[in-house]
């Protein structure tokens, strides 16, 4: 299997290093716990916010605001839902509100430059990122969000459905439609598909 198992397994948040435990410790003012949460969700949440606002600077601001909200909410946090759902929901609400206020401003696809280490691995990550950013940018918002939540944030469909407030089948359908649309522009990165099959 190409992907890690969905993080929906019941044990992932229960241990001493689980998300819930970290969040509860955050609520008690534990700075280290907050830092750990931040580290865990940094890239996934940022990618998700970018998939909505599609501007690097705005996404960074909203990412910070998301974690400030999390920090403020931590003392009152009751672990009813999965923390990943909670975090993505906060991020989504902030990002959608932001987009609503800033509607119609033309946006450039967010492209993350490859690091020197990545470039040294022989993977044309810059090209992949540029192509992917452009292709994602052309997708309808629901498809872009669903794909990012599934493959970047690695949320199971059930959780994506909760975050996006849509039925699970609909979410999977958005993912499928989106991937189909991405397919032609991603074909040139075939070697990665070959790697997967080894």
């Amino acid at each position: 299997m190409l992907y890690d198992p969905p993080i929906d397994s019941t044990s992932s948040t229960q241990g001493p290093d689980g998300d819930t435990d970290l969040m509860l410790r955050c609520g008690g003012g534990d700075r280290a716990a907050f830092e750990e949460l931040l580290k865990r969700y940094e890239t996934r949440l940022l990618a998700f916010i970018r998939s909505i606002v599609r501007d690097r600077g705005d996404a960074e601001d909203l990412f910070q605001e998301t974690f400030l909200r999390v920090h403020r909410a931590a003392p009152r946090y009751v672990p009813k839902a999965r923390l990943s759902t909670f975090l993505h929901t906060i991020a989504r609400n902030l990002a959608l509100n932001f987009v609503q206020k800033k509607r119609e401003k033309p946006v450039q696809p967010v492209v993350e430059p490859a690091t020197a280490e990545e470039a040294g691995r022989g993977v044309d990550l810059d090209a992949l990122r540029t192509t992917l950013a452009a292709a994602l940018s052309a997708l309808p918002p629901n498809q872009r969000e669903a794909i990012t939540l599934r493959y970047v944030s690695e949320l199971p469909y059930k959780r994506i459905a909760e975050v996006m407030g849509a039925p699970m089948g609909t979410v999977a359908s958005w993912v499928h439609e989106g991937l189909k649309t991405l397919s032609p522009s991603m074909r040139k990165f075939g070697p990665m598909a070959g790697e997967e099959e080894r």
């Binding site: 400030l68 992949l128 990122r129 992917l132 990012t148 493959y151 469909y157």
Partner: protein, 255 residues
């Protein structure tokens, strides 16, 4: 060609999110269907590419910024604090300018008894005591003779009049510091406040201080005279002044 399994089912099956019966049906079909297997492979590959190309780089600086914002004092808070401080200073300045000339705020005593006494005087109508009434008149009887450094007969007589007020004995020291004069006496209920002033200095004697009132550090000094305790609240007094007052108070009350 129509399939019993949809691409959405393939995706959900691949994610392990189909219920057992549906998952079994999809598995059975996909195992023998090259088209579905190819489609699933393509979807997986695309998903992997998205995962690879869609993940931004983690940045220590980014995290540090968030942590600083969450745990540090924000610039906005500092700005608000400064604005409030400036507003408070302005209010204070305006208040002082507006405060009528000559109206003084009594010093706030540290001693609890003196504090209560102060409160009583503030709460009740602090009527200036009319001076120079006849001895023994109720509620007054306070002599008007200025009290100099060495009180003469007039001052001694005034003391006697003061003592005519029930519960009040020897309200002021037999001697006051050089250059100071009796300024005013005010009563409110059974509380009496006598102020002496002069040369930019003043001190106030609260009569009737109960047992247990001892010397209080700072501007409040307690002394005794003939068994009666006094509490003095002074303004602008130096250590020499306080010493003199204390010595005066410790003298036996004039007879």
């Amino acid at each position: 060609m129509s399939h019993p399994v949809t691409p959405v089912q393939l995706l959900l099956h691949d994610a392990g999110e189909l219920d057992a019966a549906e998952a079994r049906a999809v598995s059975l079909h996909a195992a023998g269907c090259a088209e579905c297997a190819a489609q699933l492979a393509e979807l997986r590959t695309l998903g992997a590419l998205v995962a690879k190309g869609g993940l931004p780089e983690p940045q220590v600086l980014r995290r540090q910024r968030v942590i600083a914002a969450a745990f540090g004092v924000s610039h906005r808070r500092i700005a608000w604090g400064l604005a409030l401080a400036v507003a408070a200073a302005l209010l204070f300045a305006v208040g002082r300018a507006w405060w009528p000339a000559g109206r003084t705020v009594p010093p706030k005593p540290a001693n609890p008894w003196v504090a209560r006494h102060h409160e009583a005087l503030q709460r009740l109508d602090r009527r200036p005591v009319e001076l120079a009434r006849g001895p023994g008149e109720p509620g007054a009887g306070i002599g008007s003779a200025p009290i100099g450094p060495e009180p003469g007969d007039a001052a001694r007589a005034a003391v006697a009049k003061w003592e005519a007020i029930a519960g009040v004995r020897a309200l002021y020291p037999a001697r006051v510091p050089e250059g100071m004069r009796f300024r005013q006496a005010r009563v409110a209920g059974d509380a009496v406040e006598v102020t002496f002033a002069g040369g930019g200095k003043s001190f106030t004697v609260f009569a009737g201080a109960g047992d247990g009132v001892e010397r209080v550090e700072g501007t409040v000094v307690a002394g005794t005279a003939a068994g009666l305790r006094f509490v003095i609240v002074g303004e602008g007094l130096g250590a020499a002044d306080l010493k003199l007052i204390r010595e005066s108070l410790e003298r036996p009350a004039p007879k």
